[in-house]
């Protein structure tokens, strides 16, 4: 089976590194960015199976990146990793109440748990 391709965007270098390591260990192919602007300018539609986006980021936050990417690539699956309750709540309430709660991964999360969640999201329709 071809390996799944994932894009990780988080402004914390350590967390990007961590996520990339964990997913690569599980056989994923991972592109990682610490800057949402370059992540967007480099973005190629129909290239990824899943985007994992941090929410609270400078320059362009995860919501904005999600919105812009969706314009280019409506089919791609997106999930969010967040450490900020307030950001998460505002986002869900105001803009994306249709998004399933399952698409939000709360930090901190153990590595195995993260892989499980991501596989679940990838398997969902």
């Amino acid at each position: 089976m071809e390996s799944k391709k994932v894009l990780v965007v988080d402004d914390e270098p350590d967390l990007v590194f961590l996520c990339k390591m964990v997913l690569e260990d599980e056989g994923f192919t991972v592109d990682a960015y610490t800057d949402s602007l370059s992540a967007f300018s480099d973005y190629k539609p129909n290239n990824y199976d899943l985007l994992i986006l941090d929410i609270k980021m400078p320059n362009m936050d995860g919501f904005e990146l999600h919105r812009k990417v969706k314009e280019l690539d409506n089919a791609v699956k997106v999930c969010f990793m967040t450490a900020s309750e307030m950001y998460y709540e505002t986002f869900r309430e105001k803009e994306h109440s249709s998004l399933s709660k399952d698409l939000f991964i709360h930090k901190p999360i153990e590595n195995e748990e993260l892989v499980k969640k991501i596989n679940k999201i990838l398997d969902s329709k």
């Binding site: 914390e12 967390l15 961590l18 390591m21 980021m57 900020s84 930090k107 153990e110 590595n111």
Partner: protein
């Protein structure tokens, strides 16, 4: 008796016959007739001259005060008293009685009733004394009228256009103070449209009237009226919650204060209190209506002091309550901000520590990198925990200093050395400049002062790009024997301080960055101030970007000889 000639004759006769006293009971017109009719005035003057003592009861009103004052002068040492609702006129002496029913301005009497029958005279004298006992002195009455304490008026107004007129009139004639409670946002909008707010602004600017308004501000955006047309009324695109304050008092007006009351669901009346001596309560009939005329029900005007002061008391206690409530809300939102920021800042390093520890087992080949990462994130956590504890200490006012005498220069040099090492280790090319050799002794909490300088350096590094420079200076600032300070400043070539953050730079959670809690400068300020110093910040003016944050500490100098040592200037930057 009738006929002009006859009546004036009898008046003169009665006066002339009086030996000791003349008692007069006259309606509100009587005083003006005495003063304006020369012949009558003359009779009075002559009698007083003869030693006749007058007792005079009349109704003193706003309109006849000047005449009553004149009468008071003329009849002295006789007395003038006031009684409400005096009707008819009569005079009694020891032996005679004279009465008439109607008096016309400065017109001689057409008809009088006269008697010198002992019984009639005694009977009327008895009546007079009874009335005299019920009356109050003219002086008291005049004072009451002049101080606006004129007899209490409580009026119920059913006609809404009259209510509107009275409402505007009351506001426009306010001399010192206006208090208003608007029960609903709609009530406010309707009354603003009819010009109340304009009038309030006018009296506040022109007569320096102090205005206090209480209304539900927070529900402004959910009001039932067409808020777009209202926005149009104020030439604004949109009316949002907090614009209400700028609508009522644009910049430059500082004697209008507005507070929010949000538990007004039961309140159904606009309450206006003017100068603490008049109240106007407008009952709300239908809050959904567009105009004041349609929405208003009964209105009650009162200048009864006890009634008005009761409204004042209610207003004042609500006013205090709103202040407490506002404080509580600020506190609440601060707590929320704290939880949110702290949560993000706690979870991020926790995620790294957790993940890296688990990776260690699988990837021994990158052990060093992982351990470094764990250490770095654990330090970040530790720093946050210390900051949170410091804030708690500061807020519970239990920040204690362990003061000791130490060389600030040496301490800074030491710290700079550490930071240079860190910068190098992080492969960053930020230049840290500190060049100072003279000793500067301070008596401070060394650990705390180092904490402050570290905070300033951390901030400077955070906002300075690779290749930029940060310079530290430490200078003694000695003006005279009483003002001796050492000033430590940290200047960077970073992005400068965000103008949004600037006004609240030293308060809690002042951060625009995506890393950090915004607690550092709050803590630093408190440490510096606890030492008796000051802390300040500015964006660099001299073309270079970046900012300078500096703080002062009081300097202890023992002898003038030592002074010299401290004034050595440091070479800053290069």
């Amino acid at each position: 008796m009738s006929g002009i000639e006859c009546t004036s004759k009898v008046q003169i006769q009665v006066s002339a016959n009086a030996k000791n006293a003349i008692h007069i009971y006259g309606d509100s017109k009587s005083s003006s007739i005495i003063i304006q009719t020369e012949s009558i005035k003359k009779i009075f003057l002559e009698c007083v001259k003869r030693g006749i003592k007058y007792k005079y009861i009349t109704e003193i009103t706003k309109d006849n005060i000047p005449y009553c004052k004149e009468v008071l002068k003329i009849i002295r040492p006789g007395e003038l008293r006031h009684l409400d609702g005096v009707k008819g006129n009569f005079a009694v002496t020891e032996s005679e009685y004279l009465a008439t029913s109607t008096l016309y301005d400065a017109q001689p009497l057409q008809e009088v009733v006269y008697s010198n029958a002992k019984q009639v005279v005694q009977q009327n004298e008895c009546l007079f004394e009874t009335l005299w006992d019920k009356s109050i002195t003219a002086e008291q009455r005049i004072k009451e009228i002049e101080e606006g304490l004129e007899s209490d008026v409580i009026e119920i107004i059913r006609n809404s256009s009259r209510a509107k007129k009275l409402y505007l009139n009351l506001v426009n004639n306010a001399k010192k103070e206006v208090m208003i409670i608007f029960p609903t946002v709609n009530a406010f909008i309707r009354q603003d449209k009819m010009g109340i707010i304009k009038s309030l602004r006018k009296v506040s600017m022109e007569s320096n009237v102090i205005i206090r308004i209480m209304m539900p501000i927070e529900s402004f955006s959910q009001n039932g009226l067409d808020s777009m047309s209202y926005a149009d009324h104020h030439q604004q695109k949109e009316i949002i919650d907090y614009d209400i304050r700028s609508i009522i008092c644009p910049e430059g007006i500082d004697n209008i204060e507005i507070r929010n009351i949000d538990r007004m669901s039961e309140a159904k009346a606009t309450i206006l209190i003017v100068d603490r001596n008049q109240s106007f309560v407008m009952e709300l009939k239908d809050d959904t209506k567009d105009t004041f005329d349609e929405a208003i029900g009964l209105s009650t005007y009162s200048n009864s002091i006890s009634g008005v002061l009761s409204y004042v008391a209610i207003f004042e206690s609500l006013w205090i309550e709103t202040k407490l409530y506002e404080k509580l809300m600020v506190h609440d939102s601060m707590q929320k901000a704290f939880i949110n920021i702290a949560a993000h800042e706690l979870r991020t390093p926790a995620q790294a520590i957790l993940g890296f520890s688990l990776l260690l087992k699988k990837h021994p080949e990158i052990k060093d990198k992982l351990v470094d990462g764990i250490y770095k994130n654990a330090s970040r956590l530790q720093k946050l925990i210390n900051n949170i504890l410091d804030v708690t200490t500061i807020e519970s006012q239990s920040l204690h200093l362990n003061k000791e005498k130490f060389d600030l220069n040496y301490a800074i040099s030491d710290l700079v050395g550490e930071y240079r090492h860190q910068i190098k280790k992080a492969n960053s090319r930020i230049e840290l400049i500190y060049d100072n050799n003279s000793q500067i002794f301070v008596e401070s909490d060394k650990e705390r002062i180092i904490q402050v300088i570290s905070n300033l350096l951390d901030n400077a590094i955070k906002f300075t790009k690779d290749g930029g420079e940060i310079s530290i200076s430490c200078e003694a600032d000695i003006k005279d024997d009483f003002t001796k300070h050492v000033v430590v400043s940290v200047r960077d070539s970073g992005s400068g301080i965000n103008s949004e953050i600037f006004p609240r730079l030293f308060t809690k959670f002042a951060t625009k960055s995506y890393q950090g809690t915004g607690l550092g400068l709050f803590i630093s300020k408190n440490i510096v101030e606890e030492h008796g110093g000051r802390i300040w910040a500015k964006n660099n003016e001299d073309g270079n970007k970046g900012s300078t944050v500096a703080f002062s500490l009081p300097l202890k100098i023992n002898s003038p000889a030592e002074d010299q040592k401290y004034t050595v200037k440091n070479i800053v930057g290069s």
